[in-house]
């Protein structure tokens, strides 16, 4: 979704958006960059865990709490 929004914003900036419009699109691009740097990498850790089929929650005995 952010990549899509950033693509639209890039086109609008290349087409010469000015003033408030320029700030709006630049904000979208920076937000996309934030998403890719700060948020998206978290997926790798979560995904690696899912892929490993770890069973710590599944096999935990309720008496252990």
């Amino acid at each position: 979704m952010w990549l899509w929004q950033a693509t639209v914003a890039t086109k609008a900036l290349r087409a010469g958006a000015e003033g408030e419009e320029r700030s709006f699109y630049a904000g979208k691009l920076a937000a996309c960059r934030y998403f890719f740097r700060y948020e998206l990498p978290k997926i790798d850790a979560a995904f690696a865990l899912v892929s490993s089929l770890d069973d710590v929650c599944l096999s935990f005995e309720p008496s252990g709490f």
Binding site: W4, Q5, F24, Y34, R37, E39
Partner: protein
């Protein structure tokens, strides 16, 4: 700056990210054009500012009371909903043939979001009624539709959903409410329903309940569940209101947030019979309910985004005005303090909110846009393709906003600091209101089961008929990796690093961009 709507953002999504203009050229939407959609959004903004926003804090502070078997809610709520109904917002998305305005789903979602952001607990009454009426329209008999649909579309009668019971919420197979057949073809309902939002009140002249119940002697589990319509006051053939239908208010739930939305425990057939009529066929109750639930899940995701938006805009406004501290390179203690928006860590917290809220809006908006594309699709294969994509995206569109926009609300409170923790500012209310969204209409774990268990079919990946294989085929054929993603990847490589991660895409990231995410799971499942 408005505290509850970003029109530039809505227009960006509708006309620049999605292609609403082309959609509006379809015969189905010929009554609408960019100008009329814009007027509709203006009207939503004006109404929300005038009637919804001013009483949001009031409804939160004065939750509904249980007085002598009835619900008491601040009188302003009724007037606000009246104004909303008179402007035609209940009927906006319905087909012209049913008395609606046949506006595109994506535009309806954006308009309803304006009300939601201004006052979620009030907007819920309309949202529930629309979802209820949609189910009635799709599965009700001619007689049921004639009696009940028009006043709901006019916003004179409201409609809640009665699914959960005190002992069965997520597990609806275990419901115990009984529907006993009567000689005239109608049914008598017996049992209790819990967590019924809008279950009893005086905000409308009647309440049309949609109730899940079991007909005695039917099969066990979900196959024995049927859907019934039971009004608060019986409705005569000519549409006039009859006697009270013995649906008793047993108590109210006192909630953390969304307090203006009354939440009830109801008892059916108390002191007399609760007469109900069957919707559709026996045993299909849950299937009908899921029809509504898909729409409701999208609505919940969007409501989460709108709670996030409210917190984001409030904290943005505060950060621009609040003067505190100096920049690290300024060592002069006598210099004036700067607005806190100048501090990098405050910008981080605003950016985190922006990506959560605007990302969530794009996701729910995209799903609504897919619903529209499905409505105008001219062949079954295209409709089925869109249906599969919507099936995968719906649990995500419900869950991602509810998780991430709640986190955004946490950051909004953080930006206001101690002030954010007080009831003098709305950010704590947005947090409390939003905390329900990962819970209702299928809790987060239920959405995960839907996505991985039902939609991806990860445990049955070897089965060539499973949805997992269908998904893989689709993603290879490019449906899950539509043109924009391919274009974005190409332009991302060409241009500066705006849209590109600092290193090559990781396997997980690539999966999110539309490559078969199933592959890594299914190849490893054999090692278990």
């Amino acid at each position: 700056m408005s505290q509850f709507v970003q029109r530039r953002d809505i227009d960006f999504l509708l006309y620049e990210v999605f292609d609403l203009e082309t959609l509006l050229s379809a015969p189905r939407y010929r009554a609408h054009d960019r100008e009329s959609i814009s007027a509709m959004l203006d009207s939503a903004e004006n109404l929300a500012r005038k009637h919804f926003l001013p009483i949001a804090a009031l409804l939160d502070a004065n939750e509904p009371k249980f007085v002598e078997g009835r619900v008491e809610i601040a009188a302003e709520a009724r007037d606000a909903l009246r104004a909303h109904a008179e402007a035609g917002f209940f009927a906006l998305g319905f087909d012209e043939a049913d008395g609606g305005l046949q506006a595109p789903t994506v535009a309806v979602l954006m308009a309803s979001g304006i009300f939601t952001c201004a006052n979620l607990s009030l907007a819920n009454y309309a949202f529930l009624t629309v979802a209820n009426a949609n189910m009635l329209r799709a599965f009700g008999t001619e007689d049921q539709r004639r009696r009940y649909l028009p006043p709901m579309l006019e916003g004179r009668r409201f409609g809640p959903m009665c699914l959960s019971e005190p002992q069965a919420g997520s597990s609806l197979a275990d419901i115990a409410t009984k529907a006993e057949p009567l000689p005239d073809g109608s049914y008598r309902l017996r049992g209790s329903k819990m967590w019924i939002s809008g279950g009893d009140h005086e905000l409308a002249d009647n309440i049309v309940h949609m109730v899940l119940a079991k007909i005695p002697g039917g099969p066990p589990g979900v196959k024995g569940i049927s859907l019934f319509l039971a009004p608060r006051y019986r409705v005569e053939a000519d549409g006039s209101l009859g006697a009270w239908n013995n649906i008793a208010l047993a108590g109210l739930n006192h909630k953390m947030g969304q307090r203006g939305t009354v939440n009830c425990l109801l008892n059916f057939s108390e002191g007399g019979d609760t007469i109900a009529t069957l919707i559709g066929e026996p045993g299909k109750g849950l299937a009908y309910m899921f029809h509504m639930m898909n729409e409701a899940r999208l609505g919940v995701g969007h409501a989460a985004a709108m709670c996030g938006l409210g917190g984001y805009l409030s904290s943005l406004d505060y950060a621009r005005q609040r003067l505190q501290g100096r920049l690290p390179n300024n060592k002069d203690p006598s210099s004036p303090p700067v607005p806190i928006i100048e501090h990098a860590d405050v910008k981080r917290m605003l950016l985190a909110q922006k990506v959560a809220v605007e990302g969530a809006m794009a996701l729910t908006g995209y799903c609504a846009y897919l619903v529209d594309l499905q409505k105008i699709a001219d062949d079954d294969a295209e409709r089925e393709r869109l249906n599969l994509l919507l099936g995968v995206l719906t649990p995500v569109a419900k869950s991602w906003p509810s998780e991430h926009c709640l986190e955004a609300n946490k950051l909004a409170i953080q930006i206001l600091g101690g002030y954010g923790y007080t009831r003098d500012f709305p950010v704590e209310r947005f947090y409390r209101d939003n905390r329900l969204n990962p819970i209702h209409e299928g809790a987060l774990g239920i959405q995960a089961i839907d996505l991985l268990g039902r939609k991806s079919g990860s445990t049955e990946a070897a089965d060539s008929t499973s949805s997992a294989r269908k998904l893989q085929r689709l993603s290879r054929s490019g449906v899950l990796s539509p043109n924009w993603a391919r274009k974005a990847r190409r332009s991302g490589r060409r241009s500066t690093d705006y849209a590109r991660p600092p290193r090559p895409f990781s396997p997980a990231t690539t999966s999110l961009l539309g490559l078969p995410m199933q592959r890594s799971i299914s190849t490893r499942s054999g090692t278990r």
